[in-house]
């Protein structure tokens, strides 16, 4: 996985340039993102930090193809996401990216196993294969003995681990997590971070929003956002690259 460049990472997998997002509700305009440009390379573990309301979730939703920017371009793995059809976007959400929400977002009254199998159903994975993979994934996040529990019978930490297993269902190269430990006690948060750490060690690219500096320390790189702009990036390479692109 060693890259050709000096920082020892792979090729750029996420490239955003001059991204902006403006919400207009009832003639009130909120600028959530203003001219954001940066890159994430394969195998990176990026922490995104910033005050509440600074635009972190907005950026994450655009990166996850869950929302569209007002302007700017987003190139994912060489494909310009803005030019993809609705079905192609669905395929990206299904196969390329696993998204972990702060509020877990599991299907209620549905077992852990069935929740993890949902993305595989949309990918037409055969039933027996689905069962095998989902069981293995739940085992991997330490819930091997809870696969038949309904999602609402699990603790917050357990629900988040089911959500991570679900995000891993199609073995995506990128995992995006929006404050995955925000609703959890410190001990449970540590367990969740350990799982992300483990996934990163196996080569998955991880971008995670967090409020806790101790969690950000696990990341190899931290991007600070304020008022919809990147104010600090511990990796200088990205800002240079974005600048070069702008010159073209």
């Amino acid at each position: 996985m060693a890259g050709a460049n000096a920082t020892n990472y792979g090729r750029p997998i996420i490239q955003v340039s001059h991204l902006s997002k403006v919400y207009s509700n009832d003639s009130v305009e909120t600028v959530a993102l203003a001219d954001v440009s940066f890159e994430v390379r394969e195998g990176e573990f990026v922490a995104i930090m910033g005050p509440s309301g600074s635009g972190k979730s907005t950026l994450m939703h655009i990166l996850g193809a869950l929302d569209t920017p007002t302007s700017g371009t987003y190139v994912l793995d060489g494909k310009n996401v803005g030019q993809l059809s609705r079905d192609e976007l669905a395929a990206i959400r299904n196969k390329n990216i696993g998204f972990v929400f702060q509020a877990y977002n599991l299907l209620p009254r549905t077992t852990a196993l069935k929740n993890v199998m949902i993305p595989m159903a949309y990918a037409r994975v055969p039933k027996t294969e689905r069962l095998k993979r989902a069981t293995a994934l739940l085992d991997r996040v330490g819930l091997g003995d809870r696969i038949d529990h309904a999602s609402n019978q699990l603790s917050g930490g357990q629900q988040q681990r089911v959500a991570i297993a679900r995000a891993m269902a199609m073995n995506p190269s990128i995992i995006l997590a929006d404050e995955p430990t925000g609703n959890l006690a410190t001990a449970q948060g540590e367990e969740i971070i350990a799982i992300f750490q483990d996934l990163n060690d196996q080569g998955h690219t991880i971008v995670m929003i967090t409020h806790e500096p101790y969690i950000a320390e696990h990341a190899k790189r931290t991007v600070f956002i304020q008022d919809g702009r990147i104010v600090k990036d511990t990796d200088s390479h990205t800002s240079k690259r974005a600048f070069v692109q702008k010159e073209h």
Binding site: H61, L66, T68, R93, K95, N105, M170
Partner: protein, 407 residues
């Protein structure tokens, strides 16, 4: 997703919210059940009245004494005295009248019948053997009146099944038994086959005796209550009516038909009047059925729309996990179709069961209105599918994050 997969997902979603599923289904079941039961009952009662009237004989004309312009249908035992035995004989033997097959002179009154310790008040009908032909009466045991009975003014009686069960409740054969009608002794010679009917339509609570015996011995009159006439076929009914009418006018020496001292009506006249009454009844029931269909439909609509918030979030979640628009829409379509099919089936069973139970309690024949079934399933199916699918289509067009945040 594949078809079977979509169906499983839809079934799981329906199981996930049992209350919503049950309420939506209840709306469909009530709508369909009520429409089928009510319309079927209306049609059954209409059909009953029709078959009862038709069982009197479809080629039959009835000549009643009394003025034509008094309008409407008069009772068979109306007070007129203008029809005589000679009128009946003349109609039967006339060469001018070519369209008449049989002529049955009749005299009918109510009187007390006594058999041992049992007695009842029943219809006493004086008739000739022609009555059996014209009114399509057959005997289940014994025999009907013969010409000799009439000519010899015999004191013999043919009883209807209801009269038999009232007078001879023991079940022993009544043939040869003695009964008293207006204190005159008669011998029972036959029992007629049941013609059905209830209340005023009951044609089975009757004692048929020779016309001559009825006129001279029992009631002491020499006129007729009515003359029943069988036309040669249903096609010549109008001709038969004209021929008999003008023949009687001439016999009674009346020149202005509007001053006739008799009236002639056919089964069709009675049928028309009765159909009008039962038709109104059916329309009333259909009205009630339409309202229940509407109420059921609004029920389905409410349940489908009330859960839109929860369902929109589910759609957002599924889309964030890779569901395409068509996956979402087909899941919701499958849910709506399952709801409608299962609810429609239950509603049909309940509707058919209800109309079966009620019609057997009311002594009506069991009829199933196919048009009501189609209408009910069509309307509630359309409502279920439209209101199940419309919010889903709208939600599927939102971005996943908009759908997840929907409130």
């Amino acid at each position: 997703m594949e078809f079977f997969e979509t169906l499983t997902t839809a079934l799981e979603a329906l199981k996930l919210n049992k209350m919503r599923t049950a309420l939506a289904m209840l709306g469909i079941v009530i709508g369909i059940g009520a429409v089928i039961a009510l319309v079927s009952l209306g049609q059954a009662s209409q059909q009953t009245v029709q078959t009862q009237i038709q069982s009197l004989g479809s080629n039959m004309l009835t000549v009643s004494p009394g003025a034509q312009n008094s309008g409407g249908i008069r009772g068979a035992s109306g007070g007129g005295t203008t029809l005589t035995n000679d009128d009946a004989k003349a109609i039967a033997s006339s060469t001018q009248i070519t369209t008449v097959a049989k002529v049955s002179p009749e005299l009918s009154r109510r009187a007390q019948i006594i058999a041992g310790r049992n007695n009842e008040n029943a219809q006493i009908l004086g008739a000739t053997p022609a009555y059996a032909d014209v009114r399509k009466v057959t005997v289940s045991s014994g025999r009907f009146l013969s010409q000799q009975d009439v000519d010899g003014m015999q004191r013999v009686a043919v009883l209807g099944p209801t009269a038999i069960s009232n007078l001879f409740p023991s079940g022993a054969s009544p043939i040869g038994q003695s009964i008293r009608i207006s204190n005159i002794s008669f011998r029972v010679i036959g029992v007629t086959t049941s013609k059905g009917g209830t209340g005023f339509m009951n044609q089975d609570d009757i004692a048929i005796i020779p016309l001559t015996t009825a006129q001279k011995l029992v009631f002491g009159v020499n006129y007729l209550g009515s003359i029943s006439i069988e036309a040669k076929s249903a096609d010549v009914m109008n001709q038969a009516r004209d021929q008999v009418g003008y023949f009687l006018l001439a016999r009674h020496k009346i020149t202005n038909p509007y001053q006739a001292d008799f009236s002639i009506f056919s089964q069709e006249d009675i049928l028309g009047a009765a159909t009008q009454v039962t038709g109104t009844f059916t329309m009333l029931l259909s009205g009630i059925a339409t309202i229940s269909l509407l109420v059921g439909g609004i029920g389905i609509m409410n349940v489908m729309l009330i859960t839109v918030i929860e369902r929109t979030r589910e759609i957002g979640l599924r889309k964030s996990l890779g569901a395409r628009d068509r996956d979402v829409v087909s899941q919701f379509l499958a849910e709506a179709v399952i709801l409608t099919v299962v609810g429609g089936f239950l509603g049909m069973i309940i509707g058919v069961g209800l109309s079966y139970i009620i019609s057997s309690l009311m002594g009506l024949p069991f009829t199933l209105s196919l048009s009501a079934v189609i209408l009910a399933i069509g309307v509630s199916g359309a409502i279920g599918i439209v209101f199940g699918l419309y919010p889903a289509r709208k939600a599927a067009r939102l971005s996943p994050i908009e759908a997840l945040r929907f409130e």
